[in-house]
C-alpha cells in the first residue's frame, strides 16, 4: 500500500511540474520546470511522515551533492543539442550516465566522510 502511495504521489508531482512547464512561455523560462524538485518533494514528505524529519533531512543533504550532477547533465545536454545533430532522446537518456557518475562520486564522498 505504501508503494502505491509513493507511486501516485511521485507521478502526480512529476506530472504537475511538467504540465506547468508545458503551458509557460518563453521556452527557456519553462525549462526551469525540467529541474523542478518533484521527486524530492514527494519522497521527503513521505520519509518525514514515516521515519521522521531528521531522516528526511539526511536525504536532503545527499541531494545537495547529487544536484551538481543534475546541473552538469543538463549543461552537457544543452551544449550537445545546440551544436550536435543528435536527437534529444539520445542526448537526454545517454547523458543520464553523467548524472549517475556524479551521484556515485557523491555517495563515495559521503561514505568516506563517515556520514
Amino acid at each position: 500500500m505504501e508503494l502505491l502511495w509513493r507511486f501516485l504521489l511521485g507521478g502526480a508531482m512529476v506530472s504537475s511540474f511538467a504540465l506547468i512547464g508545458d503551458v509557460l512561455r518563453p521556452k527557456r523560462f519553462a525549462g526551469i520546470f525540467g529541474g523542478a524538485p518533484s521527486v524530492a518533494l514527494a519522497t521527503l514528505a513521505l520519509t518525514a511522515a514515516k521515519s521522521g524529519s531528521a531522516i528526511a533531512a539526511l536525504e536532503a543533504r545527499s541531494m545537495i551533492l547529487s544536484s551538481l550532477g543534475f546541473v552538469l547533465y543538463v549543461y552537457v545536454a544543452q551544449k550537445l543539442l545546440a551544436t550536435a545533430r543528435w536527437s534529444p532522446l539520445l542526448v537526454s537518456l545517454g547523458g543520464l550516465t553523467i548524472w549517475g557518475l556524479v551521484a556515485v562520486m557523491a555517495g563515495l564522498l559521503l561514505r568516506f566522510a563517515g556520514t
Binding site: 508503494l3 502526480a12 520546470f33 529541474g35 536525504e59 545527499s62 545537495i64 543534475f70 534529444p88 551521484a103
Partner: protein
C-alpha cells in the same frame, strides 16, 4: 519577454505522453524509496535529484516543434533540437534552484513542520531559478 501562459501546446499533446510522465515520476519515486530502505537515507537521498522530467519533456518539445515546422516547409528536425536546447538551458537554472532546495530542506526539516519546511524550500527553488533566468536575459548568461 515576461513569462506568460500559453495553452496551445496542450492541444498537440497526446494522452499517452502525460501517462508516460506520470508512470516515470511514480516509478522513480518508488525506486528512491526502496533504495533508501535498503541502503539508508544518505544513499537514497542521492536519487532525489534524478532527472525525471527533462528527458520526456525535451523529447516531446522536439516532436511538437518538428511537426509544426515541417508543416510550414521548414527543416523541422533542426528547429526541434534548438527548442529542446532552449528547454535544457532553462533546466540548468532549475538545477541550481534544486541545489538550493536541498540546502533549505536540510536546514529547515529539523526545525519546522514538514509542510512548512518543504514549502519554504520549494519557494526558494522558484526564486533562485527564476532569478537566474532573469539575470541570464539581462546580462547575457
Amino acid at each position: 519577454m515576461i513569462p506568460a501562459l500559453d495553452f496551445s501546446g496542450l492541444k498537440e499533446a497526446r494522452w499517452w505522453q502525460f501517462a508516460v510522465r506520470f508512470f516515470l515520476g511514480g516509478a522513480v519515486t518508488v525506486c528512491t524509496g526502496l533504495i533508501a530502505e535498503r541502503f539508508g537515507p544518505v544513499v537514497g537521498g542521492l536519487f532525489l535529484s534524478f532527472p525525471a522530467i527533462f528527458p520526456a519533456t525535451a523529447t516531446l518539445i522536439e516532436r511538437h516543434e518538428t511537426e509544426k515546422k515541417s508543416k510550414a516547409g521548414i527543416n523541422g528536425r533542426a528547429r526541434g533540437r534548438k527548442a529542446a536546447a532552449l528547454d535544457a538551458a532553462g533546466a540548468i537554472f532549475g538545477g541550481w534552484g534544486m541545489l538550493c532546495f536541498g540546502c533549505a530542506a536540510w536546514l529547515a526539516l529539523p526545525r519546522y513542520s514538514t509542510g512548512l519546511a518543504l514549502a519554504l524550500a520549494a519557494i526558494l527553488w522558484l526564486i533562485v531559478s527564476a532569478s537566474l533566468w532573469w539575470g541570464g536575459r539581462h546580462w547575457g548568461g
